[in-house]
């Protein structure tokens, strides 16, 4: 039943994905100043690679289909700047680092966010409410590239407790992931608080109380499920945000992740790396969102019957 809902979502995701891939394809081919601009002076060994790889002599349609073929084998082509490296290699080296950073950040975000929001909802208008919620404004308004350096200034430079950058020891993991996760912890804490408070004022909570359930049971068995739905919905955008936030975080903390390579490629105009990585990111985001949708369907029975 929820299947219909999910299929509906897919039905739109897939065309958008196709459009994105097509746009990517045409951008690489035809962008002014792009790699295949006939006026550009391309070093001969790169040119050889490109022609071999992209079959530039073939009709456009065939090239397009080849591109899809490559993609289905997860082949993103050669780097434009480095003659003997492929995009896949570069990604393989740096993705695990970013994935680790992203995951830890997400864990922080959920832990801090749900706890703070939950406490605030339990004791509204108290210190447990005002203090975390004020902090959350900071998290929402301040960009990662302001929070990160500030954290570094305070905890690394002035206090000296944590390292300034790098990705070797476990201490290295702390500041970057906190930085990245902070903004999302802020959102999640607000969503949790809002969701729980709204649920609390719902009629069915009153019914649960009228049945004689203890407050704890009311919250855990009745309020939590509905109250956390906004947080679950938010996970999709949160993951997308973490991915883009990682770009900045890796820069600030000198972390050899995919984000940093992406930026370098963007600055160096390594078109294939840029496009390939973007496609990868987009795919990840689509998949993540779809997974969130599936979880949501499980949690909210009403959606299953739309």
């Amino acid at each position: 039943m929820g299947l219909r809902y999910l299929l509906g979502r897919l039905a739109v995701m897939i065309p958008v994905f196709i459009v994105v891939v097509t746009v990517v394809f045409f951008m690489i081919r035809f962008a002014p100043g792009g790699p295949f601009d006939s006026e550009k002076q391309v070093p001969p060994d790169i040119l050889k690679n490109l022609n071999a790889k992209y079959h530039l002599d073939e009709p456009l349609v065939q090239q397009y289909l080849r591109y899809w073929g490559d993609l289905s084998r997860f082949d993103l082509g050669p780097s434009f700047k480095y003659a003997n490296r492929t995009v896949n290699e570069i990604i393989a080296e740096s993705l695990p680092v970013s994935a680790e950073l992203g995951l830890i950040s997400l864990v922080w975000a959920l832990l801090i966010g749900v706890t703070a929001g939950g406490l605030a909802a339990l004791k509204p208008n108290s210190m447990f409410d005002y203090i975390p919620m004020s902090f959350s404004i900071l998290g929402i308004c301040l960009p990662t590239f302001v929070i990160g350096p500030l954290f570094v200034l305070v905890f690394a430079v002035w206090a000296g407790w944590l390292p300034v950058g790098g990705w070797n020891t476990w201490q290295d993991r702390i500041l970057p992931s906190l930085t990245l996760g902070f903004a999302y912890a802020a959102y999640i804490s607000r969503l949790t608080r809002g969701g729980l408070m709204e649920i609390r004022s719902q009629d069915f909570i009153r019914t649960a109380r009228a049945k004689g359930l203890s407050e704890g049971r009311v919250i855990v068995k009745h309020a939590l499920r509905g109250g956390l739905l906004p947080v679950v919905s938010y996970l999709g955008p949160a993951m997308a945000g973490i991915i883009s936030g990682a770009l900045v975080t890796e820069q600030i903390f000198n972390i050899p992740g995919l984000g940093r390579f992406f930026i370098q490629s963007a600055v160096n105009r390594d078109y294939t790396v840029v496009m390939g990585t973007s496609l990868l990111y987009f795919s990840l985001i689509f998949v993540a969102n779809f997974l969130v949708d599936i979880v949501y369907v499980f949690l909210d029975p009403r959606v299953r019957y739309e």
């Binding site: 109380r209 049945k211 949690l299 029975p301």
Partner: protein
Amino acid sequence: MEPILELKNYQAHFYTRRGIVKAVDGISFKVHPGETLGIVGESGSGKSVTHLSYLRLLPSPPLRIVGGEVRFKGKNILTLPDRQLRDLRGKSIAMIFQEPMTSLNPYMKIGAQLIEPLLIHTVMNKKDAWKKAIAALERVGIPNAEPAMNRYPHEFSGGMRQRVMIAMALTTDPAVLIADEPTTALDVTVQAQILDLLRDIQKDTGMAVVLITHDLGVVAGLADRVVVMYAGHVFEEGSAEDIFYRSAHPYTLALLKSTPRIDVPQGALPVIPGMPPDLSRLGKGCPFYERCGYHMDVCVTEFPTSHQFGPEHESFCYLERPPQ
């Protein structure tokens, strides 16, 4: 017969920024086992707040129980520690509400919700509770009760959901069922069904029912005795016959006269002029003063004392004789 539920001079106020809202200001009435007591009043009369407050279902600030007693089986429950009140609530005193559409948890199957009171208040295991819940569903007229247990609330219509609510309240065999406007949100035909169901169940179980409503028609069909409330006070209390045929209070009379009837030709419908008073700005006198056709100077000074008009019939008005 000893009343199973008795309120004596019960007062509950809301302490808000704009002032103290005297939602319930000194009401007294009795409910006897096996009887249906109808509580009638317009919005703001305090009819719902009364019961919600002593069951501690309202947030406490801003609510404060200011005075009086609420006795269940002779014992004053206002002084009970929370834990013990919770034991009573849902088990011996059950309450159902007006909006069946939103009163059930949309994220849980009704079976899970139905067995909850049993699991908490009794020592039944899940299996037995499940069976009892199914029996309760059948009692309230839900077809295919067993598979229904695994359905979600949104799969049922409004009337069916209200039946589920009633079933849920019944599972623990409560001594008193407080029904707060149980039919207001339902179609007229469904209303009648639900009321019949309540009457039926009452006959079987001997449970007392407190039926809160603004609709005199609902009360007429079902209630043995009636209490009329206004602005946090009781204006009149008596048997259903007393109230309908021998009412002694100007407010009750006005209510009756303003109820449309299809059996008697009518001209313009008489209306009670004015608006209900602001409960944060009540004086010491009768709150109905401004809208009352019979008001006298003495009415402003102090709330009327009780006048007996029959063995069970009491009215709170300074009028010596019932108005016509």
